[in-house]
């Protein structure tokens, strides 16, 4: 086989996957928008995706805020610039614009995306998805839509909490380790924070929630070949949604702040 043939084959396989994902996305979105919806299942998924992810997200953003304050202080100390107000600003903007959504998105991809892929993948290989169809229940309506809706709704809520905890992490380090003035720190944080900062974070969160749950469902739905197939689906869901999160994060940032 010539090199051209190999490249062509890989390219065609790639296009096939892109097409498959596109069709899956369209079908999933139509089922999210068109009634009837299973509210009971949406509620259960919101608990699963949102509430149970809280501890992980709280820890991640707390330490991100803490290390951010610590390192930017080192940077400012070396250059002997007035650090106090700058650090509060750096922490609050980095957390709300970038680190909060991205870190939370990645943690949710690892925690929720993998579990969705494994669960739906197992249902696929044990014929449970076929069983749904024979019981006149659409798998998209019953399995995919509740997860995607729950992801899009709960991730922004998680991010708001994550933002607050992240800023608090920076506050702890600045006050107790670096000896800043607490009132001044909080006032600077609040003054430097604009609506658009939080807003972009929430847009990102909703998009990431969509990507993570959708990739989990897609990989699980198309898994093949027993336990090994389910393992592959789990890996693919985490890898693909993590990469998509990082790419989309750049694109959304460029859209809001890119002038």
């Amino acid at each position: 086989m010539t090199a051209v043939q190999t490249i062509g084959r890989i390219f065609l396989a790639f296009l096939e996957i892109v097409g498959q994902v596109a069709v899956f996305t369209i079908v999933a979105v139509t089922h999210c928008l068109r009634p009837p919806l299973y509210f009971r299942l949406i509620g259960r998924q919101m608990m699963e995706i949102g509430y149970y992810s809280l501890p992980v997200i709280a820890l991640t953003t707390l330490f991100a805020g803490m290390v951010l304050a610590l390192q930017s202080y080192t940077g400012f100390a070396r250059n002997s610039v007035g650090a106090e107000s700058a650090i509060a600003e750096i922490v609050v903007l980095s957390i709300t614009r970038e680190l909060g959504p991205v870190l939370a998105g990645l943690m949710v991809a690892a925690r929720v995306g993998s579990s969705i892929a494994a669960e739906i993948g197992t249902m696929r290989v044990t014929e449970q998805i076929d069983a749904l169809v024979t019981l006149s229940t659409n798998p998209f309506k019953y399995l995919v839509a509740p997860r995607v809706i729950a992801g899009v709704v709960t991730l922004p809520l998680l991010i708001i909490i994550g933002d607050i905890i992240g800023v608090f992490g920076g506050y702890i380090v600045s006050i107790y380790k670096l000896g800043f003035n607490p009132t001044l720190y909080l006032k600077t944080s609040w003054d430097k924070l604009y609506f658009v900062d939080v807003n972009t974070g929430l847009v990102k969160a909703a998009v990431f929630g969509f990507v993570v749950t959708l990739m989990g469902c897609y990989q699980g739905y198309h898994s093949r070949g027993g336990a090994q197939g389910v393992g592959a689906a789990t890996i693919n869901s985490v890898v693909s949604s993590s990469i998509l999160i990082l790419i989309l994060n750049y694109l959304i940032s460029a859209m809001f702040f890119g002038t």
Binding site: M123, D130, L135, S136
Partner: protein, 257 residues
């Protein structure tokens, strides 16, 4: 002439270069119990999946109650599948739900019945397959293979289907439990008057539950006739299969020693 409940004509299906079904013709009359026998990989499961719409045949026609079901939309498919119950090989119970919720699934999610009403029917059907109320709140993961099949059977008959499919109902369970399942199948189909199509390679089971037997070999139905006639079938493939001989016209996909 009565319209056949299920009508297959020239159904073909291939996966890549591998031809699995090569023109399957079969008519199943209302109230009849037909068993398709055949070796592993002969296309029995693919036939069932084509009828259910889980796979799309490449060619041929499939009719249920005289209505063509190849390539119909999702809504029409849901309406057709509401007439069909299926017992899967591994039971395919939903492991996030309890036993009674599984049995009631088609009623609650498929037909929109209230949970309380559906639970009553589910318990009734579970009793019919020999599971009393203490099993109702258990998780399917805590049940043995035979028990799971019973729950699967209860789930299939709970929607009172006109057609029931059985995919290898006795595979993977001990012979005694297998015979109990066979008797349950006979009892349930007699009580509901449903048309049934079973695929199996277990001859004892096939003889017990069928009115007619069809033999699937190399993607075609090579013999079909009343159950009582199978021992006198003038077909070398059928004779080899029912006697389980290694030597004969059926060549397993193995390399010759």
């Amino acid at each position: 002439m009565t319209v056949p409940k299920i009508h297959l004509k020239g159904v073909c299906k291939r996966f890549g270069p591998k031809v699995v079904l090569d023109g399957v013709d079969l008519d199943i009359m209302p109230g009849e119990s037909v068993v398709i026998i055949g070796g592993s990989g002969s296309g029995k499961s693919v036939t069932l999946k084509c009828i259910l719409g889980l796979l799309m045949p490449d060619a041929g026609e499939i009719e249920i109650d005289g209505e063509s079901v190849v390539g119909i939309g999702a809504r029409a498919r849901e309406r057709i599948n509401a007439k069909i119950g299926m017992l899967f090989q591994g039971a395919a119970l939903f492991d996030s739900l309890t036993v009674w919720e599984n049995a009631a699934f088609g009623l609650i999610a498929g037909k929109g019945m209230s949970r309380r009403e559906a639970k009553e029917i589910a318990l009734e059907k579970l009793a019919l397959v020999g599971l009393d109320e203490k099993f109702a709140m258990m998780s399917p993961a805590d049940l043995s293979g035979g028990m799971r099949k019973r729950v699967g059977l209860a789930r299939a008959i709970a929607i009172e289907p006109e057609i029931i499919f059985f995919d290898e109902p006795t595979t993977g369970i001990d012979p005694i439990m297998g015979d109990i399942i066979n008797e349950l199948i006979v009892k349930c189909t007699e009580e509901t008057g449903a048309t049934t199509l079973t695929i199996t390679h277990d001859m004892a089971s096939a003889r017990k539950i069928s009115d007619r037997i069809a033999m699937l070999y190399k993607g075609k139905i090579v013999w079909v006739g009343p159950t009582g006639d199978i021992d006198r079938a003038d077909n070398a493939v059928v004779q080899q299969f029912i006697h389980g001989r290694a030597e004969g016209p059926i060549e397993m996909e193995l390399r010759r020693l």
